[in-house]
């Protein structure tokens, strides 16, 4: 029982990180109706940027982290401007293939630039495990989850209170109306991609400090795809909730059935939810009008 509780807490912590990654998917989907299959690899790119700052250039974490976030946000704007804007008006299938291609480019590029080996990221958090009664939570997982949830909170507040956030939400809910009110819709798409990439960079740093850093880290992004489908592609709250659920499920199955089962759980959840409730737990059901 103690074990189950400890495993559950670790799972929930990992789930918090999934929530942060899921946030990136959801804001892009809400604004542009595109599911970004390269999101996991953008996250990996952010983690490598942090690694370069902190380990190669030997910067302290408070300098390396903003640097990584900025560099990744720039990547996000570049992707929107150079890849997705020329494809606007084409079908969703095309956008899926394009982001899939982008994922391959990033995966290869990271190996060319940084090598395919595992590297250790300089620790960003204190290294003593968190002790709760009789339970131990690894420091990186625990603090990472707290950082992730804090980042989610900050982003949500920014969306609510700033003018830019208001413009972004307006664009997401009705492009034509937003445009007629003087909002520069393409620019909002661009900012949205930058924000998503920035959250991805943060998530990458957290994931990279929990595990090690290697070019296959982007795989987690695909597992999180399952999370956002479960939560509902257009629901921010759904992403957080589903992140916690899937994180917990993974930890528990991984503990009882063996580590290799852990990787397949998100995809089983995914297929089930697609058959039973395609719009997810908190997503809006899609109504099609002709």
């Amino acid at each position: 029982m103690e074990f189950l509780l400890e495993i559950s807490l670790v799972g929930l912590a990992v789930g918090g990180v999934y929530g942060l990654i899921g946030l990136g998917y959801v804001i892009v989907y809400r604004a542009t109706r595109i599911v970004n299959f390269a999101h996991g690899n953008i996250m990996m790119f952010g983690a490598y940027c942090y690694f370069t700052g902190a380990a190669v250039l030997d910067l302290p974490w408070w300098a390396a982290l903003p640097l990584a976030v900025t560099a990744t946000a720039l990547l996000g704007t570049a992707v929107e401007r150079l890849l997705l804007r020329p494809l606007e008006g084409r079908s969703q299938t095309v956008a899926v293939m394009a982001t899939f291609g982008l994922a391959a480019v990033l995966h290869g590029l990271v190996q060319l630039l940084w090598s395919a080996r595992d590297v250790f990221m300089p620790p960003i958090f204190a290294q003593q495990p968190i002790v709760l009664g009789a339970m131990y939570i690894p420091a990186n997982t625990g603090y990472g989850a707290l950082l992730a949830l804090a980042a989610v909170g900050v982003f949500l507040v920014l969306f609510r209170v700033t003018n830019l956030g208001l413009a972004m939400r307006a664009t997401a809910s009705d492009q034509v109306a937003a445009s007629s009110l003087g909002i520069n819709v393409p620019a909002m798409f661009n900012v949205t991609w930058a924000c998503a990439a920035a959250t991805a960079a943060l998530a990458g740093v957290v994931v990279g400090s929990i595990t090690t850093l290697n070019p296959n880290m982007g795989r987690i992004g695909l597992s999180v795809l399952a999370v956002v489908i479960l939560g509902g592609l257009d629901s921010l709250a759904g992403a957080i909730l589903a992140g916690l659920i899937v994180g917990w499920l993974e930890a528990v199955t991984g503990f009882y059935l063996g580590a290799s089962y852990k990787d397949v759980v998100p995809f089983l959840v995914l297929l089930t939810i697609l058959m039973v409730r395609p719009h997810g737990l908190l997503g809006a059901p899609r109504v099609e009008r002709l």
Binding site: L83, S91, V96, A104, G108, Q111, F267, L271, L274, M275
Partner: protein, 377 residues
């Protein structure tokens, strides 16, 4: 409707036809274009000649295909077999993505089902080669249709995600179901045998692969003159309109998944006989990327595009390896990531700049040449 850009017409159909219509009306009064006259004459008087030319081309193609093993060395034959396998599998993916407008990010996994199917049918049940392959195809078709099952409720984007899930779930099964798949180390496949003849080398595998590749191209081409094929394209171009006309999209989506995976399963089965070993690593995510690149570069929704894509994808990895070989052993380690970057870039660039793929480029060039020659006459 198989021209360039036909795969993503949902957004721009109205605007395109809206622009095209007045222009067409204006042309009624104008003098007929020389090219139009030329083609009209060809249609009226030269139908017989065209048929004869086509028959001649087919005879030539068959002669070349039959002659390859007589003149090629084992490297040529190795590449020819790979090419044939790529043609079969890419045709399957193109049926799904190019013709039916559905996308699969898990094509490699269905090939894997076929390959493991062959391994199992031949070693456990001792079935002969000519039974194993179709059975493996059917097995893969079953797996494909199960993956397509969510399509009863969802479409488009969600379906793409479902195929991605299938890729990972099947990959997990290949790795973990050790009693059948042999786990991570994979399983060996005995060489194919027909009667007393052992098909163990490239030279002997060549004819069956070539025959099936040709058959699959012909089958695919003819499929689009049937009710099912036309239903696929109607579904792709405007699914709600297709539904109004009596095409049940759910049923035909399942059929498309089944047919596409059947091709993949056959190709995977050939891979098993060709390499004589089946491992989970062969059917990774990267292979799905490979086939997606093949159809996007070749040209979605055309048989010609499959051939061009397969030629391109057979040649590119060896060309890359040759280039890397010049730079010595250091560059060899960079080969896999380089290939990935290249494939990804090709997908992206072709989608943006040339949605019709190589087939689109060739079609346009041919039209231009015809216009020029017609103008000269």
């Amino acid at each position: 409707m198989t021209g360039p850009g036909a795969t993503d017409t949902s957004a721009n159909v109205p605007s395109r036809s809206g622009r095209a219509e007045p222009r067409r009306r204006g042309q009624v009064d104008a003098a007929p274009h020389p090219a139009a006259l030329h083609s009209a004459a060809a249609a009226a008087g030269g139908g017989h000649a065209a048929a004869a030319r086509r028959a001649g081309g087919a005879a030539l193609a068959v002669a070349v295909l039959v002659a390859v093993p007589l003149f090629g060395n084992s490297y040529h034959l190795h590449m020819a077999c790979l090419f044939g396998i790529i043609v079969i599998s890419a045709m399957g993916l193109n049926l799904l993505t190019g013709y039916a407008g559905l996308i699969s990010l898990g094509h490699a996994a269905f090939m894997g089902v076929g390959a493991y199917g062959v391994a199992w049918f031949s070693s456990r049940l001792g079935l002969p080669f000519y039974l194993c392959l179709p059975l493996a195809g059917l097995l893969a078709a079953g797996a494909g249709m199960v993956t397509g099952l969510p399509s009863l409720r969802i479409k488009g984007l969600y379906l793409a995600i479902a195929t991605l899930a299938a890729q990972f779930i099947l990959g997990f099964v290949f790795n973990e179901w050790e009693s059948v798949t042999g786990g991570r180390g994979g399983t060996n496949v005995a060489p194919a045998q027909v009667g007393g003849l052992l098909l163990s080398t490239e030279r002997e595998m060549y004819y069956p692969i070539a025959a099936v590749a040709v058959a699959s191209l012909l089958a695919a081409r003819n499929l689009f003159r049937t009710r099912v094929g036309r239903a696929f394209m109607a579904m792709r171009d405007r699914d709600s309109a297709a539904e109004v006309l009596g095409v049940d999209p759910r049923r035909y989506q399942l059929v498309a998944f089944g047919v596409s995976s059947f091709f993949a399963g056959i190709a995977g089965g050939f891979m098993a006989y060709f390499y004589k070993v089946v491992t989970p690593g062969q059917f990774s995510f990267q292979l799905s990327l490979f086939y997606l690149t093949a159809i996007v570069v070749g040209g979605m929704g055309t048989v010609q595009g499959v051939l061009l894509g397969a030629i391109f994808m057979t040649a590119t990895p060896s060309a890359l390896a040759a280039v890397a070989g010049v730079f010595g052993p250091l560059a060899a380690g960079l080969l896999a990531p380089l290939r990935e970057v290249l494939f990804g870039l090709l997908i992206v660039l072709f989608l943006i700049f040339e949605p019709g793929g190589l087939a689109g480029i060739i079609g346009r060039t041919r039209k231009r040449i015809m216009l020029i020659t017609a103008a000269k006459e």
